[in-house]
C-alpha cells in the first residue's frame, strides 16, 4: 500500500512538471489557459492525494481551492479578458521554443540534482515532491521571462505558485498551508483584476526602448 501511495504521488507530481513543459511551447493564449487549467486540476488531485496519504483533512481545503479557483474561475475569467481585449493572437515569445525547452530541461536537471542531494535525510516522498516542486517553480519562472504578454506572465506566475503549493503540501504536517494558499489566491485575484482594470495590453504593444526611456522620464 505504501508503495502505491508513493507511486501515485510521484505520478501526479511528475505530471505537473510535464504540464509545465507543455506550457513552454504554447503559442496561443487560449491554449495556454487550457493547459493551465489542466495544471491546476492535476495539482488539486495531487494535494487531495497527499491529504489522503498524510491523513490531513485540512489539505482537502487547499485541494478544493486549487480546483474551484485556479482550475475553473481564473481560467474562465482570463478567457473573457483575452476575448474582451481582443488579444487572442499569437504570443510573442521572447526566445525560440527550442531554446526555451532546452533551458527548461536544464532547470529541471538542476533542481533534481540540487534537491535530491541536499534532502538525503528526508523521507523519500517529501524528497521527490520537493524536487518536482522546485522544477515546477523554475519552469514557471521560465514562462514568465519568455513571455511579453501580461496574461501569459500571469499564467506563468500561477504555475509557479502551483509548484509552491505542491512543496508546501509535500512537507508533511506543515502548518498554515491552507492560509498560505488562500493568501496566494488573493494575490492572484488581485493580479487578474489588475490585468483587466489596467488594460495592460496597451503597454505591451510597444517594446520600443525609446518609449521605455520616456516612461522613466530620462529622455533629455
Amino acid at each position: 500500500m505504501h508503495n502505491l501511495a508513493f507511486d501515485i504521488a510521484h505520478l501526479l507530481a511528475g505530471g505537473l512538471v510535464l504540464i509545465s513543459f507543455m506550457m513552454l511551447y504554447q503559442d496561443r493564449l487560449y491554449a495556454l489557459l487550457n493547459i493551465f487549467a489542466l495544471h491546476a486540476v492535476v495539482l488539486a488531485l495531487s494535494v487531495a492525494w497527499q491529504a489522503f496519504v498524510q491523513n490531513a483533512p485540512h489539505l482537502y481545503v487547499t485541494a478544493m481551492i486549487a480546483l474551484v479557483f485556479k482550475a475553473i474561475i481564473i481560467p474562465v475569467a482570463l478567457h473573457r479578458i483575452v476575448k474582451q481585449l481582443g488579444i487572442h493572437r499569437d504570443i510573442e515569445t521572447a526566445v525560440g521554443i527550442g531554446l526555451t525547452m532546452l533551458a527548461g530541461m536544464g532547470l529541471v536537471a538542476l533542481s533534481m540534482v540540487l534537491m535530491l542531494r541536499v534532502t538525503g535525510a528526508a523521507d523519500p516522498l517529501a524528497r521527490e515532491d520537493l524536487a518536482f516542486a522546485l522544477s515546477v517553480v523554475l519552469l514557471g519562472l521560465l514562462v514568465m521571462v519568455t513571455r511579453r504578454n501580461a496574461v501569459s506572465q500571469v499564467v506563468g506566475f500561477m504555475s509557479l505558485e502551483n509548484g509552491l503549493v505542491l512543496a508546501a503540501t509535500g512537507a508533511k504536517g506543515m502548518p498554515l498551508v491552507v492560509e498560505i494558499s488562500v493568501a496566494f489566491s488573493i494575490l492572484i485575484a488581485f493580479i487578474v483584476i489588475g490585468v483587466f482594470l489596467f488594460r495592460i495590453r496597451e503597454r505591451f504593444d510597444t517594446v520600443d526602448v525609446g518609449a521605455l526611456d520616456e516612461f522613466r522620464g530620462e529622455r533629455r
Binding site: L114, M115, R117, V118, T119, G120, A121, A122, A126, L130, A133, L134, V137, L141, M144, A150, Q153, F157, L160, E161, L164, A167, A168, A171, K172, G173, M174, P175, L176, E179, I180, A183, I186, L187, F190, I191, G194, F198, I200, E202, R203, F215, R216, G217, E218, R220
Partner: protein, 482 residues
C-alpha cells in the same frame, strides 16, 4: 504580562480598525486627520512596548530585542509620514491628480500597509511573517499605481511581478526551513515558530538550511532592492505618491531586510551551515557599486533618491555580511539612520516636486533662494545621506569602513570607491538643485515642515551623541547577529 500582550495587539489592531473606518468615511480633512490619529495611536502603543514587561513569545507573536526598535522606528516613520501625507494629498486633490474615491482607498491602504509591516516585525512564525510581507507588498503595489497614468501602471506592474516572484522564492525557502526543522522538532506548529527554531537550530540538517537561506536571500532580497533584483525599485519610487516613496524607502526595505536578518541568525546558530557572509558581501557590494554608477545618469529627482536607497541597502547588507560585533552594530545603526534620513528627504522632495510641478532635475534650480526652508532641508538631507559629518550616517559609514579596513582591507577598496562615487553624484546633483539661478515656479510652498525637521534633528542628534541605552541595545543585538 496582560498589559504587554495588549500593547502588541494594539500595534496591530489600531491600523486594521482604522483601515476599515477610513475605507468608508468621506471627506479629506476628516480622513487625513484620522489617518494621523491612528498612526499616532500605533506609535504610542509601540512606545509603550519599550517600558512595560515583554509578553511571553506565543505561537504567532513575539517581542524581542531585535524587533522592538524596528517596531518603534516603523510606527514613528509611519506617523510622521501620515502628517506629511496630509498636506501632500491636499495639494494632489487641488490639482486633481487624486479623486475623493481614490483618496479613501489611499488612506485605507496606508493603514493596511502599516498593519502588514508591523505584523511582519512582531510575528514569531516564519509562515506568518511571509504572509505579512505579502500584505505589505500588495498594498504598496496598489498605492504605486494609484495615479493610473501610463507610467504609474507600468511601475506597479513591474513591481507586482518582480515582488511576487520574490515572495514566491521566499516562501519556497520558508518551506525548506520547515523541512529542515521537522526531523528535529517534529511535525506541526512548533517547527515554524521562530523561538523554537532558533533554540534547536544547531541540530538541523545544514545542507537543507543552506539551500533555504539562498532562496530566502534571493526572495526577500528582491524586496530589499539588492542588485540585480532591484529593477522594480526606482520605478515604484518615482511613479507613486511621494509619501509612499518615503515609506517604501524608509520602512518596507527595512522589513524585508529584517526578514533576511532573522534567517541569518538561524543560519549562524548552526555550526555546519555555510557562512552567509560572502553571499551578502557580494550582493551588497554589487548593489552599492551599481547604484553609485547609476546615480550619475538620473534626471528625475525621485529616481535619484531611489537609486540612493539601493546604494544604502547595499552598504547595510555588506555590513551584515562582514559580521562581527562592530560591523553588525554599524549595519543596525545605518538601517535606522537611513530610514530617518531618506524618508525626510522624500518629504522635502515631495513638496519640491509639487511646488515646481515637475520631477525633472533639470527644471529645478536655486531652491535655497526661492524656497529657503525646503531648499536647505534638502541640502541637510543630501549632506546626511551622502555621509558627511556630523550627521548620523557618517558615523555608521565610518564604522563600516574602518571595521572593513581592519579585517578585509581588499574589500574596503571597492567599498570606499562606491561610497565616494555615490557621494560625488549626490553632491553634483545637489548643487544644481539647491543653488544657482532659480528656475521654475517660485510660489511659496504650502508644506508641512515638522516631519522632516524632526527626522533631520534626530539624525543630527544621533551623529553627535548616541544615548547610552541605545548603544547598549545596538551592541546586544549586534552580538545576537553573529
Amino acid at each position: 504580562m496582560t498589559a504587554a500582550s495588549d500593547a502588541v495587539a494594539w500595534v496591530l489592531l489600531i491600523p486594521i480598525c482604522a483601515a476599515t473606518v477610513l475605507a468608508v468615511l468621506p471627506g479629506y480633512r476628516l480622513t487625513a486627520g484620522l489617518n494621523i490619529l491612528a498612526s499616532l495611536g500605533t506609535l504610542l502603543a509601540a512606545l509603550s512596548l519599550l517600558v512595560i514587561e515583554r509578553p511571553q513569545p506565543g505561537y504567532y507573536l513575539l517581542i524581542d530585542d531585535l524587533n522592538i526598535v524596528f517596531i518603534v522606528l516603523n510606527t514613528f516613520v509611519g506617523f510622521t509620514t501620515s502628517v506629511f501625507s496630509a498636506s501632500y494629498i491636499a495639494h494632489e486633490l487641488e490639482t486633481g491628480r487624486l479623486t475623493p474615491g481614490y483618496l479613501r482607498f489611499y488612506h485605507a491602504m496606508y493603514q493596511v500597509m502599516m498593519f502588514g509591516m508591523n505584523l511582519a516585525f512582531v510575528s514569531n512564525n516564519i509562515g506568518l511573517m511571509w504572509v505579512a510581507v505579502e500584505i505589505a507588498t500588495l498594498t504598496t503595489v496598489l498605492m504605486v499605481g494609484i495615479y493610473r497614468t501610463h507610467a504609474a501602471l507600468e511601475a506597479a506592474w513591474k513591481y507586482f511581478i518582480l515582488g511576487s516572484v520574490g515572495i514566491a522564492l521566499a516562501l519556497f525557502g520558508t518551506i525548506l526551513v520547515y523541512m529542515a526543522a521537522r526531523p528535529v522538532i517534529g511535525e506541526g506548529q512548533d517547527a515554524m515558530v521562530w523561538t523554537v527554531l532558533i533554540s534547536r537550530a544547531a541540530t538541523f540538517d545544514p545542507a537543507l538550511l543552506n539551500v533555504a537561506f539562498i532562496f530566502l536571500l534571493l526572495g526577500y532580497g528582491t524586496k530589499v532592492g539588492l542588485a540585480p533584483l532591484h529593477a522594480w525599485l526606482p520605478d515604484a519610487h518615482a511613479e507613486g505618491p511621494t509619501p509612499i516613496s518615503a515609506v517604501l524607502s524608509g520602512l518596507l526595505l527595512n522589513v524585508a531586510l529584517y526578514a533576511v536578518l532573522r534567517f541569518k541568525i538561524l543560519l549562524a546558530a548552526n555550526p555546519d551551515a555555510i557562512s552567509p557572509g560572502p553571499l551578502m558581501v557580494t550582493m551588497g557590494l554589487t548593489s552599492l557599486l551599481f547604484a553609485a554608477f547609476m546615480l550619475y545618469r538620473r534626471r528625475d529627482i525621485k529616481r535619484l533618491f531611489a537609486y540612493s536607497s539601493i546604494e544604502h541597502m547595499g552598504i547595510i547588507v555588506f555590513a551584515f555580511g562582514m559580521g562581527g560585533p562592530l560591523a553588525n552594530f554599524a549595519g543596525l545603526l545605518h538601517m535606522v539612520m537611513h530610514s530617518l534620513t531618506k524618508s525626510g528627504i522624500f518629504y522635502a522632495v515631495g513638496h519640491i516636486a509639487q511646488v515646481k510641478g515637475t520631477q525633472r532635475i533639470a527644471n529645478i534650480r536655486g531652491l535655497t533662494e526661492t524656497h529657503p526652508a525646503l531648499g536647505w532641508s534638502l541640502v541637510i538631507g543630501v549632506v546626511a545621506i551622502a555621509g558627511l559629518p556630523p550627521l548620523g550616517i557618517f558615523m555608521s559609514e565610518f564604522l563600516i569602513v574602518s571595521s572593513t579596513f581592519a579585517r578585509q582591507p581588499l574589500l574596503a577598496i571597492p567599498l570606499v570607491f562606491g561610497l565616494l562615487l555615490a557621494f560625488g553624484a549626490l553632491i553634483l546633483r545637489l548643487t544644481s538643485l539647491a543653488f544657482g539661478e532659480p528656475r521654475g515656479n517660485a510660489a511659496p510652498a504650502d508644506a508641512s515642515y515638522l516631519p522632516m525637521f524632526a527626522h533631520f534633528a534626530l539624525v543630527l542628534t544621533a551623529g553627535i551623541y548616541l544615548p547610552g541605552p541605545l548603544v547598549v541595545w545596538f551592541q546586544h543585538v549586534a552580538n545576537l547577529l553573529g
